[in-house]
């Protein structure tokens, strides 16, 4: 099944793209997807602690099980100060 992944803010600079489509197995969690993306875009791995992850318009924990057609977003912490 396929999920869309969007990058926002300077994560687009880190990956060099704003959106990728990933093919994953049923049962795949956000954590597994993220591991794959970090292998593909090593600069993302350095941001692991601060990165925020959403599915659709909601934040989701790393244990979230992906569904076909999910839109995943990865982005840095939102504006501060």
């Amino acid at each position: 099944m396929q999920v869309e992944v969007q990058f926002h803010s300077y994560f687009k600079d880190l990956t060099g793209c704003s959106r990728v489509t990933e093919t994953v197995e049923p049962g795949c969690t956000l954590q597994e997807l993220r591991d794959r993306l970090e292998a593909r875009f090593p600069k993302l791995a350095a941001m692991r602690k601060s990165a925020l992850v959403a599915v659709g318009v909601d934040y989701q924990p790393m244990t979230y099980v992906l569904k076909d057609g999910d839109e995943v977003s990865l982005f840095p912490p939102v504006q501060r100060g």
């Binding site: 969007q6 803010s9 925020l52 318009v57 909601d58 840095p76 939102v78 504006q79 100060g81």
Partner: protein
């Protein structure tokens, strides 16, 4: 609770927003906040800030915050405008208004909303240097 949310590139028109205010006779307190772009960011001087929003999620997250606000305080109305795109130094990028019966709850709700917004609403800042081109996206 009345809600109005605008996320977009248009300049914030304070006078019009003030003239459109509606409040019932039981309300005694209006707290407004304007967040204005400062001329320096981490010690270096800047010309503007470029705001990028993941708009669909930002709208949803703002509405979750409004839901929570309504549970916590007797707020009658919340209105919030957040600019996107390039906002020059000295111009407002954020306008928030909270109306409640008493000032304590109006101040508390308004500050809470802004603090939470900066934590969960996906809008990012990027400094635009003086004499620089608009940054690439």
């Amino acid at each position: 609770m009345k809600r109005q949310l605008i996320i977009g590139p248009e300049p914030i028109d304070e006078a019009r927003l003030a003239s459109e205010r509606v409040m019932s006779p039981e309300m005694g307190a209006v707290v407004c906040f304007l967040g204005v772009v400062r001329g320096s960011e981490e010690g270096t001087s800047i010309a503007a800030i470029d705001y990028e929003a993941f708009e669909k999620m930002a709208v949803h997250q703002f509405n979750l915050l409004f839901d929570e606000m309504e549970k916590r305080w007797p707020v009658e109305s919340v209105r919030l405008v957040h600019r996107t795109g390039v906002v020059k130094v000295n111009e407002p990028s954020l306008w928030v208004e909270v109306i409640a019966p008493h000032r304590g709850e109006a101040f508390a709700a308004c500050q809470w909303l802004i603090d939470e917004m900066k934590r969960v609403v996906p809008i990012w800042k990027r400094a635009v240097k003086e004499n620089a081109e608009k940054p690439k996206r």
